[in-house]
Subunit: 271 residues, 2 copies
């Protein structure tokens, strides 16, 4: 069947949104819509312009035989900062502070509205990066890693503190937690990450930075490389030592005995 322009625009918009980072040739669209290449090119130009205006990210077009169209989800730094600022205001509630200085984020990590935002913000930050996989630690990092995975269209892998019998053989490492020093173990299923992968690390909360250090050690076991680190919320601290740059979406300042929030602000990603 033949598609009108209006129909093509609706269908192509949904197609591109659902296939981020995936190259589709103009010929694929020509075939899909049974129309001339010139019409498809015009469609793409309209969508490209509108995505820019609606601040959804970038439609990349490449010419030549292997050329085509791909959608890079990307929101602007300003947009991201404003949305995270709003989120900080929403979450700045005294009863979110838990015993031991932790911060209650469980509801955020199960809320599709927040998750879409967080995924877009982290994926936008690493949009120019070549990435093969996202890595996180179970359980609360999983929703974040998954959102970044959806927007960057690469798989994610889950490092676990307790491996189950249902996963096949694993690689395990020991790492030192900071702040409250002790040695812990983490494990990753052997087959889940190919060697020489370029990996982004994602986690929900950063206190001493031990979990991120553990994941960096795990990457070494897989001969893989860390190309970025992002955490949803870090405890503001000047004496933390992490072996790489990391970008937090929110930065939490507590009073000395961790009983009150002094400040919750957009994190180092927006500095």
């Amino acid at each position: 069947m033949k598609y009108k322009r209006s129909q093509r625009l609706v269908d192509m918009t949904q197609y591109l949104l659902q296939h981020p980072y995936q190259l589709t040739t103009l010929s694929d669209f020509v075939q899909r819509y049974q129309t001339a290449k010139s019409s498809v090119s015009e469609d793409v130009a309209i969508i490209k312009e509108q995505f820019k205006q609606s601040k959804l990210g970038c439609i990349e077009t490449t010419a030549g035989a292997s050329g085509g169209v791909r959608y890079i989800p990307q929101i602007s730094k300003e947009q991201a900062k404003a949305a995270i600022q709003k989120m900080c205001q929403d979450l700045n509630q005294a009863d979110r502070l838990l015993p031991g200085g932790y911060f209650y984020l469980t509801d955020v990590l199960g809320d599709p509205k927040y998750l879409r935002l967080i995924g877009q913000v982290i994926a936008s930050h690493f949009a120019k990066q070549e990435v093969d996989a996202i890595m996180t630690v179970a359980t609360k990092g999983v929703p974040l890693a998954q959102m970044v995975s959806l927007y960057l269209n690469v798989p994610f892998v889950i490092v676990r503190r307790d491996s189950k019998v249902t996963e096949g053989s694993t690689v395990s490492i020991n790492y030192a937690t900071k702040g409250n020093p002790r040695v812990e173990k983490m494990e990753l299923t052997k087959s889940s990450l190919p060697e020489h992968s370029k990996v982004i690390l994602v986690d929900d909360f950063m206190n001493g930075g031990g979990t991120i250090s553990g994941m960096l050690a795990m990457l070494k076991e897989f001969k893989s490389e860390c190309v970025g680190v992002s955490v949803l919320c870090e405890v503001a601290s000047s004496d933390r030592h992490v072996e790489c740059d990391y970008y937090s979406l929110m930065s939490l300042t507590k009073n000395a005995d961790s009983t009150a929030i002094v400040d919750l602000q957009p994190g180092t990603m927006f500095a």
Copy 2:
């Protein structure tokens, strides 16, 4: 600024896709596009027709003062079955059988392509249902619950076998695993699920059905109601007793000593 029809179609398509199940009034669109209500109505009609043709689901329009537009993601039974059939073929590999009769699905649960499909299939199955939340058990159920949550636009909650100090007070229950009988514990953060919620249970793998029974018991503690159960893969079995209907996407038949796959077929959801 004023939008042309082509621009409105692109922007409205992305807006609806990113706000499933959310009612938007025509007036909101009139304001967004600074155009006449009649034009917006025509735009909606075009998108509605094209979503139907592209099999993306349904654009519901309701008239009257509180009326508006909302997008219900829904793929057809035939489309879903064909895609899951293809997935079964891809996964029918002898080396996916693990010691103890488990089935390796870890890669599937970290692959955005499979996750989008699985989320769409489960969300489509429960599209007519009134749902307040999705519930799953850590860790491997999380990616599935999250996808269903994104498509149904309701929060998801994670039941854990080991609660962490970082979550606040929890409710814990004991439940009996089946097959290999022993008593286990599961816990859910108290604040994560309001009482009297209507909940869909999601899990990755069903053997004896003990985990689902555990979640049903947990729902009782929260005075909440199960309105649907879906698992990615069940072991084909005639002598399983679960206290409610459940729908599997895949059904796995193994030989007597669990060393070979006899069959991997679309599950009871498609029966």
